[in-house]
């Protein structure tokens, strides 16, 4: 297990692709790991304290990582626990393993992820589990659980996997969605525009587009794109 703590409050954002693979390396190697601090390339050891405890494949990020982007990018196994907030693009392209965020998550949580699990105890912002701009397919597998609220564009272009939001969500949930499940325990705004498949379950209130038809299964659409997606309450 590797414990990483910020040495100071950061003035600009850091881009650091921290994955559980680091826990397999020696502390010296980890300190030399290259990260971007603003537009400068620096060593991880300059910005963070690194402590190693035991050999399990686990990262504990102890402190506020709200300005650290790309944590858990492309990780395949192991575990990351963030004791505070986490920055944008957390868990991007992730294929396996587990990320637990005890604070809030920024935009682009779990974009294009294909497997694994992300749990956020606080709130998440926009674009959870969606496709990177211009790409055709968003999240294809795995599970994202957000205990608080989430922003707009949840599961855009989603093609598999599951997103669970225990609080409320914003507008444009499941836009251009093709497969997978989105479950919202609170309320949300507009849902399922240009949806082709998949299922969106909502407990609270939501705004429905006029392009969905009522059936036994729930609201089916989006008729605009001859979609067969389902929106229902539970």
């Amino acid at each position: 297990m590797l414990i990483i703590k910020p040495k100071k409050e950061f003035e600009v954002c850091i881009e650091a692709e921290l994955t559980p693979e680091l826990a397999m390396k020696s502390v010296e190697e980890v300190r030399k790991f290259k990260v971007y601090y603003g537009n400068r390339v620096v060593e991880l050891g300059e910005l963070f304290e690194v402590v190693k405890e035991g050999e399990d494949k686990k990262l504990v990020l102890d402190g506020d990582f709200g300005r650290v982007k790309w944590i858990g990018t492309r990780m395949v196994d192991g575990e990351i626990v963030v004791k505070g907030n986490v920055g944008a693009n957390c868990g991007a392209f992730m294929r396996g393993g587990r990320i637990v965020v005890e604070g809030n998550a920024d935009d682009w949580l779990g974009i294009e992820m294909a497997g694994g699990e992300i749990i956020v105890k606080g709130n998440a912002r926009n674009l959870v589990g969606c496709a990177y701009y211009g790409n055709a397919v968003g999240m294809t597998g795995g599970k994202i659980v957000i205990e608080g609220n989430a922003g707009n564009y949840i599961g855009e272009k989603m093609n598999g996997g599951e997103i669970v939001i225990k609080g409320n969500a914003g507008d444009f949930v499941g836009t251009e969605m093709r497969a997978g499940v989105i479950e919202i325990h609170g309320s949300c705004g507009f849902v399922g525009g240009d949806m082709r498949g998949g299922e969106i379950r909502i407990k609270g209130n939501f705004d429905l587009l006029p392009t969905f038809r009522k059936t036994e299964k729930g609201w089916v659409g989006d008729v605009n794109v001859k979609g067969e997606g389902v929106i229902k309450t539970f």
Binding site: Y132, Y133, G134, N135
Partner: protein
């Protein structure tokens, strides 16, 4: 001064076919041996290497609002980093490249001239600003005329003097090079949600037909004696069965004659060479088109070959772009350019497993193989058919039947029945392929100093690590492809700009533009232009591009 020693030169314009000779360069021009002091020359040893003129791309979309909108709507194209800023500029792009990347990639491949093929007249300033951001190569732009209300008005009145004056005025104002016609009448019909289906459909709101637009513009172009002929993107592009429209359009050149060049250039014919009635039974009409082109001596075409992989369809043909968007379901952007023209952009990818894409791929090659080498220019209509960086693939394919057989196995077998490609035995020679990429496009554009290595030509030279005397072009296609992909040296205006694919020096090429104002009386058209400017979003005084705004303009005066 440069002395390129012992190279094996292929220069079709000067009838030199793989002869060992020396080339001398002074002040950016190719000169005779007696004009240089040999001891002052920098010597490039080209023994056993192919020395040819720098490539000329006569039809690509490299600048202006279309490619820029394409870049905006395709952020995924911008994730390939080609060059990190340092001595040279940062460049990005997969197929849609940033402006400096276009210059750098052309130069690495040994190309030194490229023309933007469709410039909306009112967007001229944008086009030229972007052309001025493209380093390394010489450039030019063709303004579009085929859907301009003013053009329709002159043709309705059957007033050739007015039309000539308008063409001369517009080419000067836009700092353009020639007359481009995109889906004549069709884009105007698109303003009302329609299109024209044949050469004799009336354009909505005007008493003209596509047939009249094309013939009148050819007539005006020939009377003005512009360096380039009318450059036509035919009606019905991308519609199965359209090869008949293309043949009819080509035949409109009958009756016109110009001793120096063709009178009609039909562009990216691959997209206009489909037989059949729908995409379910589409087939190739390339053989019929080739027969017609070969029988006429005043028409040239370019291939518009499709390359498997990513591409972006962007043309001034707005109705076609909408039908493409409906057909494949990809993103779509439409542009309406006031009373002049329109455009559309749709991302596309060509897949070998798709029967239609395989058909398009095969038709492009069929055109290259079946049409006389003196009448067909190698293009991919960048970025519509694919990246220009894959020209070497097309060159190698034209020269090797064995390579084509190998590639035919990898594509959808639909092409076996619907095209003649599997039965074509022709293998173009290196001489012919160099002609199709250098001297022919330069001749078609009317650029006398480009595309050849004769004394007086611009010193745009490409040296490839390929010995034509020892290469078996039929069998060693991989080597041929690799050699043409990266020039050992690219020389632009007498300076070495790339070496083995590494950038050496950044230079800025010329922007060619044509001034034909002396041939006409502009006063005959000015009252009409002034009246039409009531409908423009800009004032007449603010319209167009001044020569002094361009970085490196080169005026070709028509007298």
């Amino acid at each position: 001064m440069l002395w390129i020693k012992n190279g094996i030169v292929v220069d079709p314009k000067n009838k030199i076919n793989a002869e060992k000779m020396d080339i001398f360069v002074k002040n950016g021009k190719i000169v005779a041996e007696s004009d240089v002091k040999k001891e002052d020359c920098k010597i490039i040893d080209a023994s056993g290497k192919l020395v040819v003129a720098g490539g000329v791309d006569m039809h690509a979309h490299i600048a202006g609002s279309k490619i820029n909108t394409g870049r905006t709507m395709r952020p995924e194209e911008m994730r390939v980093v080609r060059n990190i800023a340092g001595k040279f500029r940062a460049t990005l792009g997969r197929v849609l490249l940033t402006a400096p990347a276009i210059g750098y990639e052309y130069a690495k491949m040994g190309y030194t001239t490229s023309f933007e093929a469709a410039q909306p007249p009112i967007g001229a300033l944008h086009t030229h600003e972007e052309l001025d951001s493209i380093p390394m190569i010489d450039k030019g732009a063709l303004p579009v005329f085929g859907n301009w209300h003013l053009v329709f008005k002159c043709i309705e009145e059957k007033n050739l003097e007015k039309l000539k004056a308008l063409v001369a005025w517009a080419i000067e104002r836009t700092k353009g090079f020639g007359v481009k016609v995109v889906n004549p009448g069709g884009v105007e019909a698109w303003m009302y949600g329609g299109n024209v289906k044949s050469l004799d459909d009336q354009v909505p709101g005007f008493n003209v037909t596509p047939r009249e637009i094309i013939t009148w513009l050819i007539r005006a172009n020939e009377e003005l004696g512009l360096p380039h002929s009318v450059h036509l993107h035919c009606n019905n592009l991308g519609v199965p069965g359209n090869y008949q429209t293309t043949i009819e359009s080509i035949k409109l050149a009958n009756g016109f004659r110009n001793p120096k060049r063709q009178v009609l250039h039909v562009t990216h014919v691959q997209f206009n060479a489909y037989a059949g009635s729908s995409w379910r039974d589409a087939a190739s009409g390339a053989a019929e088109i080739a027969k017609v082109v070969n029988s006429m001596d005043n028409v040239t075409i370019d291939m518009g070959a499709a390359i498997f992989g990513h591409a972006t369809a962007m043309t001034g043909d707005a109705p076609f772009q909408f039908s493409l968007h409906k057909l494949i379901g990809a993103r779509w952007s439409n542009k309406d350019t006031e009373v002049e023209t329109g455009a559309g952009i749709v991302p596309i990818g060509y897949l070998p497993s798709n029967p239609v894409h395989s058909l398009q791929w095969a038709i492009g090659l069929e055109l290259g193989l079946l049409v006389d080498s003196n009448k067909v220019v190698l293009t991919t209509d960048y970025p519509n058919g694919g990246p220009f960086t894959e020209y070497p693939y097309v060159m190698a394919m034209l020269m090797s039947k064995k390579m084509r057989e190998g590639e035919l196995k990898k594509v959808h077998q639909y092409v076996q029945k619907t095209t003649t490609l599997p039965s074509i035995d022709t293998e173009k020679t290196l001489y012919e392929v160099i002609h199709m990429t250098r001297s022919l496009p330069a001749k078609v554009l009317g650029l006398e100093n480009k595309g050849h290595l004769g004394v007086g030509a611009d010193a745009d030279i490409a040296i490839y690590n390929l010995n034509p005397l020892e290469t078996d072009f039929s069998n060693e296609f991989e080597k041929v492809y690799k050699s043409f992909k990266t020039a050992e040296y690219t020389i632009k205006g007498g300076e070495i700009i790339t070496k083995n694919g590494e950038l050496v020096k950044e230079v800025f090429g010329k922007t060619f533009w044509v001034d034909a104002r002396k041939k006409v009386d502009l006063e005959v058209i000015m009252p009409d232009i002034k009246e039409y400017f009531n409908y423009y979003s800009v004032q007449l005084g603010n319209y167009g591009v001044e020569e002094r705004w361009l970085k490196n303009p080169s005026r070709l005066e028509v007298v």
